[in-house]
């Protein structure tokens, strides 16, 4: 949906996706290093623009570009969607970060802040292809304990794949957020030192 939520962190910000981001999104989703575990994406920029057109109409769907604050360069995308207002619950995903970027920790932190503070959710979950071990491990490393396997949940390239679902509520986020923020600050201190040097 069209939204105006922008969150500024320490080294990165998340801001709404727009039509001018279509080619960046297409590049990310077409990158063979990054697209092993995501649904097929058309290589046509017009198809991407059509997808965005439909997204703008979809309520409860917040799609963001992750940008590095100093350079303003886009380094990835992330979303919160399928929000159930009654349950105050939503899913997050469409998370892709460019190879070599250090945005993963802070972009996850910004997304959780958006979900719990800006959108007022009580709970958020993420479903990852079980074979995508490093992303499953990332959620584990964040300290999320509430997880389960969803058998044959995804169909990607005609293949049925299990998902691992990690769930986090606002109460646990208040405990886990400090750890992610500490790591984000450590990365920023290194970046700042490099800029001074």
């Amino acid at each position: 949906m069209r939204h105006e939520i922008e969150l500024v962190g320490i080294s990165y910000r998340i801001r709404p996706v727009g039509d001018t981001d279509a080619s960046f999104i297409l590049d990310l989703r077409s990158n063979p290093i990054l697209n092993k575990f995501i649904h097929h994406t058309s290589s046509s920029i017009n198809d991407q623009l059509e997808w965005l057109k439909a997204y703008y109409q979809r309520q409860g769907d917040y799609y963001f570009v992750i940008e590095e604050l100093h350079s303003g360069n886009p380094e990835g995308v992330i979303s919160v969607y399928d929000i159930d207002d009654k349950l105050q619950c939503g899913e997050w995903g469409r998370w892709i970060v460019k190879p070599g970027s250090l945005a993963s920790i802070e972009s996850a932190w910004l997304m959780y802040e958006c979900a719990f503070k800006n959108l007022g959710l009580r709970e958020i979950f993420c479903r990852t292809v079980a074979k995508n071990g490093s992303v499953v491990s990332f959620h584990d490393s964040c300290g999320i304990k509430n997880k389960r396997i969803l058998k044959d949940f995804f169909t990607i390239n005609g293949q049925k794949l299990d998902a691992v679902e990690h769930r986090l509520d606002s109460e646990d986020w208040s405990i886990l957020s400090n750890r992610l923020m500490t790591l984000a600050r450590m990365i920023d201190s290194k970046r700042t030192r490099n800029l001074v040097d």
Partner: protein
């Protein structure tokens, strides 16, 4: 400090952070536990242990024991 001593200190950090038996061939590709969050913890733990500072633009490329060892050696090169 020689190459072997550097490698041993790096293996000690990896074993502690990843809770695996790390060896000279351990890499992010071979161990999914070495995720992007753990990667940052590993980098800062090695910096503390060896009293060094990796340049920020090299961080993501230090994705195996061998590359970490070479990265440390390069910092000590004259």
């Amino acid at each position: 400090m020689n190459e072997k001593e550097i490698e041993n200190k790096i293996l000690k950090v990896l074993t502690l952070v990843l809770k695996i038996e790390a060896d000279g061939k351990t890499s992010r590709q071979s161990h999914f536990e070495w995720d992007s969050l753990k990667h940052i913890e590993i980098i800062f733990a090695i910096e503390d242990e060896l009293q060094i500072q990796f340049p920020e633009d090299q961080l993501s490329g230090l994705d195996s024991v061998q590359k970490l060892v070479q990265g440390v050696i390069a910092l000590h090169a004259p």
